[in-house]
């Protein structure tokens, strides 16, 4: 049976993994390669790296880091941040990443999704989105960009459908409202998008306890879920999370 994936997210700033709440009050946590190995050995099903300052500093993603991670681990990983063209995507893929995540770039230029999917296959192109609860759109959720700073007026569910139609192979739904709270995933927007598209949906934002993952898999139809603070600060291990999922009857990869 296909198992539900647990995906640690590593935000990288100045070469170090960092963690903040809603992009503020960041604390540096360690070396990305060392953390990648630790999580991979600890049972992570996949990893995602965001170079969180690349776009703001108008520089390309740190390719040396991508190469070092690819050498060190044997599980799939996605990379986002600082991607502005198909040529940037190619560099990241040739460095050994399995997937590229685009977010604000795709809102500005949706065709980048189609171009990336044509060049590398839909399975390589992940659409990241940061929806926030809003009265401005029909679904009640609006897309924000640039680290939640800009509201776009775009309906989150419509955007997910359009992106999947353009060739996004997977959609990461990162709730702005839940991000960093560690009080659980935003179930409604996750479910709305999981029901609206035919591609896998990854829940993101708000994971604080193992039961939050159980709930998002059982109630919101997510195919995978992202965890960050709850494991970065040592409150839980991936084993703890997976044991809870397994005990609740969620299909889980238990040997690695």
């Amino acid at each position: 049976m296909l198992t539900k994936r647990v995906i640690p997210c590593l935000d990288v700033r100045n070469g170090l993994v960092t963690k903040g709440v809603k992009f503020k009050n960041n604390v540096d946590l360690g070396d990305p390669v060392e953390m990648a190995v630790r999580y991979s050995d600890g049972g992570a099903d996949e990893l995602v790296f965001y170079d969180i300052t690349a776009s703001a500093e108008r520089r390309p993603i740190d390719i040396k880091m991508v190469e070092a991670v690819a050498k060190a681990i044997r599980i799939p990983f996605a990379v986002g941040g600082g991607i502005s063209s198909v040529a940037d995507m190619e560099r990241v893929i040739l460095a050994g990443a399995e997937k590229i995540s685009v977010n604000s770039l795709a809102v500005r230029n949706p065709q980048i999704i189609a171009e990336g999917a044509r060049a590398f296959g839909a399975q390589c192109i992940v659409l990241g989105m940061d929806p926030v609860k809003s009265g401005a759109t029909a679904s009640g959720y609006e897309i924000t960009t640039r680290g939640f700073r800009e509201h776009t007026g775009i309906d989150a569910v419509e955007w997910a459908k359009r992106a999947a139609g353009l060739g996004a192979g997977e959609i990461v739904v990162n709730s702005v409202d839940a991000d960093g709270t560690r009080e659980g995933f935003e179930l409604e927007i996750t479910r709305l998008i999981a029901e609206a598209v035919d591609v896998p949906v990854v829940a993101s934002g708000g994971a604080g306890r193992p039961e939050h993952l159980v709930t998002v898999f059982e109630k919101a139809k997510a195919d995978a879920a992202i965890v960050a603070g709850m494991i970065h600060f040592g409150d839980y291990t991936i084993s703890d999370i997976k044991a809870a999922m397994h005990a609740a009857g969620v299909p889980t990869r238990m040997s690695w």
């Binding site: 099903d45 690819a70 044997r74 893929i93 460095a95 399975q123 192979g169 035919d198 040997s255 690695w256």
Partner: protein
Amino acid sequence: MTAIIDYKAGNLTSVKLAFAALGAETLVTSDPRAIAAADRVVFPGVGAARSAMENLKAFGLVDAVKEAAATKPFLGICLGMQILFDHSEEDGGVECLGIIPGRVRRFPSVPGFKVPEIGWNGVEGLDGKEFYFVHSYYAEVVPETTGVAEYAGVRFTAMVRKGRLWACQFHPEKSGRIGLELLKEWLSC
């Protein structure tokens, strides 16, 4: 020397890095002579069956692949497994290499099952261990099938073996320690 066949069907970095992690020397090549000279041959592939078959023909690699599959340790991965079969439904129907009798079909549309299948699925015949899959098409179960997985109500070939020809739908190069163990076993077959 293990040759990794490059026919512009996907990224080979992960395959190369996985063999490097096992200390195996590899050569990424599109040259039929280099494939003929290699001790072992890896036939990867990501993407669509039609363009893969067209590329193989354009590179003059069809005979080299058939020869290698019949005479030396050979490992097909993902699309590199699917096109070893007779025929794929992809792109309106594609004649493939016909090295393994059988057909490749698209997963049916079933509520609750996203296509492509992306993630770790358990394989019967390989102790139920989970490997990493990314695919929208599957090869039917045939007499040579040694590993079976299930998705969208379909039981499909996760692995086939025919002598020293091994091929898998999953990506052993991205399947962690368990994937590396499988590659190691192939390196000594």
